[in-house]
Homo-oligomer: 344 residues x 2
DNA sequence: TTGTAAGCGTTATCAT
DNA sequence: ATGATAACGCTTACAA
């Protein structure tokens, strides 16, 4: 169908290996010859076939983004930036939603081998990583927004995360300092795995802040039983309804994500509560919608751009044989007025 | 590195073509032999190399999603569903943001050849399509949410769109029937291309409704000059500020997207206007956030699931040699109470 | 029903 | 500095 390297060789009157050398700068070529070849490439619109190259070099110039909770707007932001950065480097992004897969790392392994992937960035989710699976994966892997925990050798993968526990602590502490005593925490429920995940970590931060202030960790403030399977908005909405039913005297809610926070806020407003007069709300992620919501909502900003960029840089570093690395960013509290000191 | 078809052949004591036949059901194999081969595949965890297959068959089992305005939440929804459907069919999705590219169809052509793509779904944007480029692309192509217009042979591509003009007409007409006379329209500005695009089409619908009711098409109600380059939220916010400054007596706004509508709503609220008492607002897309915004906002729902599914089905139909097709869905007005009859 | 062998379009090794 | 030529792992005639 298309024009091949052989055509270019023929047209420019050189051998195919010379063409290859020109295209890949993989060897010495006289500037004269180089010109002729480049001419031919131009005039024919020649584009090297990546499958052939991939077959030969066992490297496809494809990296995959693997994700579970693909509905989260914050993840969209990450994906968008990753795609851009990867594109800049001449690679393509394969998007793979692992929501369905029981063991998503396995689907990554399969994809990696099948598609000659050069690397994988895994976003979010509660993945069950193990030394074995990471080794079997066989290609550089960066975990973004999650960590594999201390049980796995840190050299086997890289990670880019936020200081989840500390951020959860700070948000809660701030609410406490504002005089709040009944502080709800809305998240996706504590996980049963031994894995560290943002969900649990932020919860631990929440608990630590309460404990340090001598406040009880009251299950009715964070455990709402089974919630509907739906978007973060819907989950947050339902959680807030249950929270309020169990604790009409709740005065503040800290939410695991902005998505949940909006659901919580909407439910609060529907219950006739005023934000921040009756109830203070803090979200997590720092997505733009939080500013445009009515009223604007406080949120812990995660530097999505930097995190995504770091993930890509780290991945390419590893792809070039570099060491793995583990970066932790700090969340920044953006105050928009949805939190207010509690008057006695 | 990995185990190859030759290994499987050796292990199961057959020829490699037999293995291939088993794996692809591409020829007769005795069930006995088949078993042996399958055994070997199982025990070795053999995964065929897609690059080799792709090189040989000139088909990569990859399809690409090309998009410009990748920030739009409605597009995220489409992408998510497409990815899922494509995955179900054993193919992978390459995500390509063409925001930067001057001529995005060119980057599609390059990608198509380079990556042996099997098909492309192009979402949104104002692409400059031409017969030539579509022909040169050489692979099945589905335009989602946009059309190439009447100048291009409909056989060269498929499309899945919404009835933009009619929906714009209906939304505006409803506002008129509610008694509104000064109705703003916030969109991304009329394009200069000859291309049909949703932006212009909804605007035409807006104009038609006004004309049919004998109302003037007042530029100060839809032309806000140069707006900041930012998210839809930010653009909507600024547009509403300008709209109100020029027309303090505006009583309704129809927005091209939900994203814009939220920016518009936020600006209106900041200006001290009450929704819907002082101003009625309608968005477009039917994204979930419209329900959770405070107050909930009316929107023209686009059936994202059906549209994405249809796009994938159409693409695969074409990939199997089928004809192109052009599907138009109808937008449905979801009333949430952000529009109210205007009292004289 | 099965195996042999010839490519697919590259890259890379080796002579020249 | 350049050009044959042998892989890479697979599919697919064609032979057996």
């Amino acid at each position: 169908m298309g024009v091949t390297i052989r055509d270019i060789a023929k047209i420019s009157g050189v051998g195919i290996s010379t063409v290859s050398r020109v295209l890949n700068r993989s060897g010495p070529v006289s500037s004269e010859t180089r010109e002729k070849v480049l001419q031919a490439v131009q005039s024919t619109n020649y584009i090297p076939n990546n499958s052939a190259r991939s077959l030969k070099t066992a490297s496809s110039r494809n990296i995959a983004i693997l994700t579970k909770t693909i509905t989260n707007p914050f993840f969209h932001k990450l994906i968008r930036i990753i795609e851009h950065e990867v594109d800049l480097r001449g690679y393509s992004v394969i998007l793979q939603d692992a929501s369905g897969a029981a063991d998503e790392i396995d689907s990554a392994i399969e994809l990696a081998q099948d598609r000659n992937l050069c690397g994988v960035i895994i976003i979010g989710g509660k993945f069950s990583y193990s030394k074995e699976s990471l080794v079997q994966l066989g290609i550089p892997c960066v975990l973004l927004t999650v960590s594999a925990g201390d049980t796995v050798d840190k050299a086997l993968y890289s990670s880019v995360i936020i200081n989840d526990e500390e951020a959860g602590f700070q948000a809660t502490k701030q609410l406490i300092e504002m005089g709040h005593r009944k502080i709800g925490f809305v998240y996706h429920g504590q996980s049963d795995t031994a894995q560290e995940n943002p969900n649990d970590l932020r919860f631990y931060g929440y608990c630590r802040a309460l404990r340090e202030s001598g406040l009880p960790v009251d299950p009715t403030l964070h455990d709402f039983g089974n919630l509907i399977a739906g978007s973060g908005y819907a989950v947050g909405y339902e959680a807030m309804q249950k929270l309020y039913a169990a604790n009409p005297d709740v005065t503040a809610v800290f939410c695991f994500s902005d998505e949940l926070a909006i659901g919580v806020a909407k439910a609060a407003l529907s219950l006739g509560l005023k934000i921040p007069d009756d109830i203070s709300i803090i979200g997590f992620d720092g997505t733009e919608i939080m500013e445009y919501f009515n009223p604007s909502l406080d949120t812990l900003y995660q530097p999505a751009d930097q995190m995504a960029l770091t993930a890509v840089e780290t991945l390419f570093h590893m792809m070039q044989g570099g060491e793995s690395s583990h970066t932790v960013f700090n969340a920044v509290l953006l105050k928009r007025g949805s939190c207010k000191p509690r008057l006695r």
